[in-house]
Amino acid sequence: MTQSNPKIEVKELTILFGATPALNGVSFDVRHQEILAVIGPANSGKSSLLLALNRMLSRIHEASVTGSILLDGRDIGNIEDVEDLRRRVGMVYAMPIALPMTIRENVLFGIRLKRTIRKNEGDTIVESTLRSSFLWDEVKDRLDTSALNLSGGQQQRLCLARTLAVGPEVILYDEPCSGLDPISTAKVEEAMKELKTAHTQILVTNNTKQAARVGDRTAFLLMGELVEIDDTDKIFTFPSDPRTEQYVTGKFG
């Protein structure tokens, strides 16, 4: 794997919902195994950007995308097998969405869409992914109980495990901690840092402090424009654009 080439290259990406632009000619790279934090006020196009990266936008009829997104140098718009793309680029949503089934079934849901798995292989996957998402110790004795009985924070980590189980290279987080308590938030962030060894991660967040805590680099979006992207330290200490400074110091947003 050559580290010199970026994992993802976004070029002149524009997203329209009907006639309303959500993202306006945005270009940037995402490096291998970094956590890129994306910050910005509401309606700045952060979530639309994520949905474009695994082509979930194509499920929304009124959305149209121009520009290109390269994953490992290949335009994802030309990928025939969109399901495979979505397995490579996983997604964790803002609201924890545990499916109404057991914890084990939730974790294995994604793999079972692709193939049948044997019991002990499944056990291995369940344990390793739940360990990676820092949930294992809390649920190891009740894997076969309903996932709906878990707390919101636990459910969100279960969703992360479920995403990990299909073996993604890239993980997208859409404000994953917006509804969580501080302890669960800390555990999710801990998990993200551990996952850096093998995954490229993009974290959309409303919480600038979270971006500062976990982001290697941070991008600031405003009204569909990319104002600035740089090392997180730089964004939070010497941003080059005055709007970025105003936002990160809490003057608006």
């Binding site: 949503y93 499916l99 849901f109 479920r162």
Partner: protein, 280 residues
């Protein structure tokens, strides 16, 4: 003189209560009247013996078999077709001219009176396709009649499954069809079944359609190409031609019990669906 609002309220409430009591009373009366008049004539032999002397004697076994076969044919056709249509409307397309047209057609179909389905079945299945008066003709006509019920309930059930379940499945690499089968259908099944059961109920209670398309043979049908009568038709003939009041009451009692059981099942399922959704 101005009547005090409190007085008006008391009077209005009284009137409303009276209306409610008479509406509920009328309906309870109908059921009670039939069950009281009929249940005592229902026996095991009544359910298992052939129709004798045009219904003056014997039982209703052929009518029970006829009803069962007719329901099997009608639901066997309407359920797959209706559920597939509902999946298309709810999951596979966005609102556009085509869906509007389809939905308009289905809504209109829901309002078409049964006698029209009878005429239609008579001309197309009995005459043109040459199926004659048969269980098959009857079942096909009934299928057309219950189709809108199946589609509407199924579509509603599909739409009540949270969108996020679909998003999760899709983001984990599910194909469109997998999204439907793995993360939508499992949770919509109680609702879909409700529609199917309501369709069964309508097939059982229908008379006009069946008389025109399946005839009213008193023999037990042995295949779907035989003419047959359903319990509702048998009851109608007994009552209208004054053949036997006793047997008419008994048939009506069996019919009403069947319908009540079927509809109660449907509502229990629907109730469970609602409760399940609240828990989730």
């Amino acid at each position: 003189m101005r009547i005090a609002p409190r007085t008006t309220q008391a009077i209005a409430k009284g009137l409303l209560l009276t209306a409610t009591a008479s509406a509920v009373g009328a309906l309870v009366f109908v059921v009670g009247f039939v069950l009281a008049g009929g249940l005592r004539h229902v026996s095991w032999s009544f359910l298992t013996e052939p129709i004798l002397d045009m219904g003056r004697a014997g039982g209703i076994f052929p009518a029970i078999v006829g009803t069962l076969l007719m329901v099997l044919v009608s639901v066997g056709i309407a359920a797959p077709l209706g559920i597939a249509s509902a999946i298309y409307l709810a999951e596979y397309t966005r609102e556009g001219r085509l869906t509007q047209t389809i939905r308009f057609g289905i809504n209109c179909l829901a309002g078409v009176p049964s006698i029209i389905f009878g005429l239609f079945g008579f001309i197309l299945f009995v005459n043109i396709l040459g199926l004659g008066w048969s269980v098959l003709s009857g079942g096909l006509s009934l299928a057309a009649m219950i189709l809108p019920t199946v589609i509407r309930t199924a579509e509603e059930a599909l739409r009540s499954v949270p969108t996020s379940y679909r998003d999760v499945a899709a983001s984990l690499g599910a194909t469109r069809w997998q999204v439907v089968t793995k993360s939508v259908l499992p949770y919509a099944i109680p609702g879909i079944l409700t529609g199917v059961i309501l369709g069964i109920g309508r097939s059982i209670e229908e008379t006009a359609v069946v008389i025109f398309t399946a005839g009213s043979a008193v023999q037990t049908p042995t295949s779907v190409f035989d003419s047959a009568r359903t319990m509702a038709v048998h009851f109608y003939i007994l009552a209208r031609e004054g053949i036997s009041n006793e047997n008419a009451y008994a048939t009506a009692a069996v019919l009403i019990c069947t319908i009540l059981i079927i509809n109660t099942t449907a509502y229990t399922l629907m109730h469970r669906l609602m409760r399940g959704r609240r828990a989730a």
